[in-house]
């Protein structure tokens, strides 16, 4: 399946994620200083930046795991920060994958995927089992369904975590450094699954240091530093011809590794 290139018409439609003027303070520290981020349907946006730049906080705001102090966030037309919003209903449409996988250790891979299908979507057991099997098959773990997380490698655990998120058929997927906790030889499997998701048209926001993946797969790269969005553009421009001095320094440093 190939992904249709984003047409100008599509770019003109309402974005799926539209965050404006996000501010976030942790005590004396201001980690987000009025950041805007909008993501179009089927777009893959990569957020890069030095540690402490606020990129993970920004991502965590997008499903309100972090509560911004100011600003607005619309996801699929729902105002996340409004008191009237049923946040649990909104989060069904927003999948999230964490650096540390966060699988439930007392459940098998299949039970991990099934939990929200049963308890949030209220599916019948048979239906949920089938959906979970399909999701695990999509990440190449059909054979490992009845394994507990501790019996799986880090890469397999992260793929189960991806299956847990996509089983809910979200409108957008958030990835918070999905490969940072993995041994190098396990990174490829996770990136392959992400590439496939993208080919199937999933809208994705990815915080990651996998620059090669960003160059190959991203539609847009956002560079953040000190709680601000300094620069954004297609990967060729950000990596090849960065405008901002901070961006240039960061890219140089990354390239050296």
């Amino acid at each position: 399946m190939t992904r249709p290139a984003p047409s100008p018409a599509a770019a003109a439609t309402r974005p799926i994620v539209d965050a404006r003027g996000l501010w976030k303070r942790f005590g004396p520290l201001t980690v987000l200083k009025g950041v805007d981020l909008s993501v179009a349907e089927r777009e893959l946006v990569f957020i890069i930046g030095p540690s402490g730049s606020g990129k993970s906080t920004l991502l965590r705001c997008l499903n309100r795991l972090e509560e911004p102090d100011d600003g607005s966030i619309h996801v699929d037309g729902i105002e996340l920060l409004s008191r009237a919003t049923d946040i649990n209903a909104a989060r069904r449409r927003i999948g999230m994958v964490f650096q540390s996988f966060n699988l439930y250790p007392h459940m098998t891979a299949r039970q991990n995927v099934m939990l929200a299908l049963r308890k949030v979507l209220k599916q019948e057991r048979a239906q949920a089992e089938e959906a979970a099997a399909r999701a695990l098959d999509r990440v190449g773990l059909a054979e490992r369904m009845d394994h507990y997380p501790a019996q799986l490698s880090g890469g397999q655990q992260q793929r189960v975590a991806i299956a847990r998120a996509i089983a809910l058929e979200p409108r957008v997927m958030l990835f918070d450094e999905p490969t940072s906790a993995l041994d190098p030889e396990l990174v490829g499997g996770v990136l392959a699954v992400m590439r496939e998701l993208r080919q199937d048209g999933m809208t994705m926001v990815v915080v990651s240091h996998e620059m090669a993946f960003a160059k190959a797969a991203a539609d847009r790269v956002v560079f953040m530093a000190d709680g601000e969005k300094l620069e954004e553009g297609p990967p060729a421009q950000i990596f090849g011809d960065p405008r901002h001095e901070r961006t240039r320094a960061f890219i140089r440093q990354i390239d050296r590794h």
Binding site: N88, I94, Y104, H106, L115, A116, K119, Y148
Partner: protein, 226 residues
């Protein structure tokens, strides 16, 4: 009488033991009932308090911490005596059995709350975040994701504490409860021979060794595959 003979006469006097076996057996029965009541109510109340505390309502949590610290600090015997001898002065009499049950329940509740709470806070924050990010609510996450993990961690300390506190049923003898020790003490007075105490010790072993073994079994049963 030689030393050994005199020891056997005092502590393993079969005639005395035979006579008072039924009394001690009754004491054992009463201890079992009392212990079960304490375990069920103490563990249930402790869990309820820990769950309330997990809701994170500040003033309520201060109150919970105050109550828990109070009952962890007071010696159980002091609570029993206060309830049994103190409350009637306020026109609220209660039987020795009720005073023992209520006191030890409150003490077990307090210790159990702390253990459950420690278990809940030991579950990594990422577990909450992962569950909430799939749309599960706070209570669903607590019940389906956090508690099953927390309870597994708490089984060993909880078993130890439960055994330690249910052994406190012996304190009931002070306020006239004819549980094992109370029965043994009566028998000792009637027979002018301490052998019933030996019987009592045996009765405690019969009661608590299976409980200890059960704790071990539960521990392995609920460990998840690693």
């Amino acid at each position: 009488m030689g030393g050994l003979e005199s020891f056997l006469f005092s502590f393993f006097n079969l005639k005395v033991m035979g006579t008072y076996l039924p009394l001690i057996a009754q004491g054992l029965g009463l201890t079992v009932i009392l212990a079960l009541l304490i375990v069920v109510s103490g563990l249930a109340l402790g869990l309820a308090l820990a769950l309330l505390r997990a809701c994170g309502i500040r003033p309520l949590n201060w109150l919970i911490i105050f109550v828990v610290d109070l009952f962890r600090a007071l010696p159980p015997l002091v609570i029993i005596v206060l309830l049994f001898f103190g409350l009637p002065a306020m026109g609220l009499g209660m039987s020795g059995f009720a005073a023992t049950w209520l006191s030890l329940t409150l003490v077990l509740m307090a210790f159990a709350e702390e253990i459950y709470w420690a278990g809940i806070t030991a579950v990594p924050k990422g577990q909450w975040e992962a569950a909430r990010s799939t749309g599960l609510g706070f209570f669903q996450t607590l019940r389906l994701v956090v508690l099953p993990q927390a309870l597994r961690i708490t089984i060993p300390p909880l078993t130890n504490r439960t055994i330690a506190i249910t052994k406190g049923t012996a304190l009931g003898s002070v306020v006239g409860v004819a549980e094992i020790l109370g029965a043994a003490q009566s028998a000792m007075s009637f027979s002018a021979n301490p052998s019933p105490l030996t019987l009592g010790a045996i009765a405690y072993l019969i009661l608590f060794i299976p409980v200890v073994a059960l704790g071990r079994w539960v521990e392995t049963r609920f460990a998840w595959k690693r």
